[in-house]
Amino acid sequence: MRMRTLVWREIFERKSQLVTSFLAILLGITVIVSIKNITFYSEKAVAREMDSLGANILIMPKSVTLQDYYAADMQGDTIPEEYVTQLAMSDLQGLDNLSPKLSMPVELQGRSFTLTGILPKSEFQAKAAWAGAGIFTRPAGCGAMPTMAFAGDDKKTLVRQRVIENLEQDESLVGADVATALALKEGDRLSLLGREFKVTALLPQTGTIDDSRVFAHLHTVQELADKGPVVSAIEVVGCCQEISKGLVGKINRLLPEAKVVTITQIADAQIKMNHMMSRLSAIFLVIIVVVGGAGIANYMFANVYERRREIGTLMSLGATSFLIQRIFLLKALLLGIAGGVGGYLLGTLLAVVLGPKLAGVPVLPMPVLALWALLISTGLTLAASFFPARRAARLDPCATFQEI
């Protein structure tokens, strides 16, 4: 009889207990893998957002509560557009890039999109210079790039830089999803609410709500919305250093009737959830080690006790202690591998399906977690089976025969 046959028969000796032990490992590994997978992509999304928007500030009506940065202007309340001039004229440093927005829903060919009015930088940048000679003391950089009339204006940078230099009253920039749905290309004419727009640029895919927007001049959208000189939100592509020096508080004092938030505050809820999930996965790891390990150890001890006569027979036929130990450890190893692989596959499936619903981010399989799943599950089963296997290896064949 070969080792492989011995181990295989040993595995299926007590099926119910085997299934229980296997399920304990499988479920534990599944939960850990799925939590780790979702947390990884959620943290990556937050880091990406903070990387590109880390120094950004949002100025909104006081009544607004915000979960998604990119949908900041998608609520009905408004603030006066004159806030933009107040900000541009103020002596606050770090406000070089302002992006006021006003949004309204529109229907195009039976589909719903969002028409967003934006104010190009050229229309308020001159007002920043109304600070007079004091403007020369403002720090260079801080998220603001010097812009000149001769510099080419790549309108597609709107989605990355969040501001646009120039935009005529009849120009429009179309989000990726809108362009695809309506089969638009640059240079086409687009009719919105009875007004003709020229499609100046098709914006690249961002994976955010901006993909389903049509951007036009703010004042044109104000006319179409019949709302007067108001905006839904003002995005400030801020200066990192100035934010840490209390820029948010200074803007609050300048505009007491508005709400001022940073990307960190908006991302705070997501960051907290990520931390909680990380802690949860650690707790599950402890549970699986303690409960799962204890269960497997108990199963193995029971197994050794029940099979002591067969073990004694094997040893009397010439099997060494090492061989006996190997049988039980191999059994544990196979159990661990099965639990690890099964747990990884099930956990990955859960993460890919539930991740977008729970964390709002796309989740992809992580092969590295397979390695960790196998290491944890096999390590656990081997560790839990070590003492039972050693006990089996130390059985006295004569003593076992005396029980017959």
């Binding site: 880091a47 903070m50 990387d51 590109s52 880390g54 120094a55 557009e81 004159e82 933009v84 001039t85 107040q86 004229m89 070089d96 050229s122 229309e123 308020f124 940048q125 001159a126 007002k127 920043a128 210079a129 109304w130 600070a131 007079g132 000679a133 004091g134 403007i135 020369f136 003391t137 403002r138 260079a140 950089g141 801080c142 998220g143 603001a144 790039m145 010097p146 812009t147 000149m148 009339a149 001769f150 510099a151 830089q161 000189p229 592509v237 990192c240 250093q241 934010i243 840490s244 940073t262 990307i263 960190t264 960051i271």
Partner: protein, 269 residues
């Protein structure tokens, strides 16, 4: 007796109302062009001030209210003491005849009332919203070098501020790099050379504000970009290519590559 006291009281009340009315009339804004049917005089007034080499305080207002009256009163009182250097121009933004001026300065959506100090060259040297005083108005009088720089920057042009020993006519005396930069067809129309004499006491404050090292050998060039960023300072030996390289570096996104993210200068996790 009681009737006579009552009558006297009524006379006193009516009399004080008449006096108060007169007081208000003195501080009242000029009637708008729409009310009088006249063509806008604001543009003409602005041109007259420029021709006389005077500043103009352009008072934009939307409707007559206590805030507007108060600001107008302060401006009138202060301008009266500065009549040798400045004129006052009133513009009601809701008056269609004033649309050219409103559009020129883009004040249709600005907080009202708003005062813009306009230099003879057309540069806005200062802006005041609602609350201001005479000393703040006086701070709008800036040096000719500052005026020219602000004008070019407000026209979204690059400024090659050349600090020389003696400013010559038509940009002569400017360092070669600045002249070549201006002569370059790619940048010529979008840049201005402004010559400032290092020995001119009037420009000392301006140069100090730019944090320019005035002890550096002259001539030297300070490159400014809209709305007022100092790109760099170059000595007389610098080449046009060095100016271009510095400009290109300044135009790269300072927040690229995570500079404003958690690993950069942005908010920490």
């Amino acid at each position: 007796m009681k009737r006579s006291v009552f009558s006297l009281l009524m006379v006193a009340i009516l009399g004080s109302a008449v006096v108060a009315q007169d007081g208000l009339r003195m501080a009242r804004l000029p009637e708008s062009s729409a009310a009088t049917g006249r063509q806008s005089g604001a543009v003409a007034a602005l041109d007259r001030a420029a021709a006389a080499n005077k500043f103009a305080f352009v008072f934009f207002w939307k409707e007559q209210n206590p805030q507007t009256d108060r600001a107008w009163g302060v401006l009138q009182a202060a301008a009266g003491k500065m009549s040798d250097w400045a004129e006052v121009v009133s513009v009601q933004t809701s008056d269609p005849a004033e649309k050219p001026l409103v559009d020129r300065f883009g004040t249709s959506r600005a907080p009202m009332p708003l005062v813009l100090a306009v230099a003879p060259c057309g540069a806005v040297t200062k802006a005041f919203s609602s609350v201001f005083d005479e000393s703040q108005l006086r701070s709008a009088f800036v040096s000719p070098g500052t005026q020219l720089c602000l004008k070019a920057l407000q026209d979204r042009k690059l400024v090659l501020l050349c600090v020389v020993d003696q400013a010559g006519p038509n940009g002569s005396g400017a360092p070669m790099a600045a002249q070549e930069f201006k002569a370059d067809q790619r940048f010529g129309a979008a840049s201005e050379i402004v010559l400032v004499s290092a020995t001119d006491e009037g420009e000392a404050g301006f140069l100090k504000e730019l944090r320019v090292d005035t002890r550096a050998p002259r001539p030297f060039t300070v490159l400014l970009a809209p709305p007022g960023s100092v790109i760099g300072q170059f000595d007389g030996r610098a080449s046009k290519d060095q100016l271009l390289a510095k400009l290109a570096a300044a135009q790269s996104n300072p927040c690229a590559g995570g500079a404003c993210g958690p690993g950069g200068c942005g908010p920490r996790k």
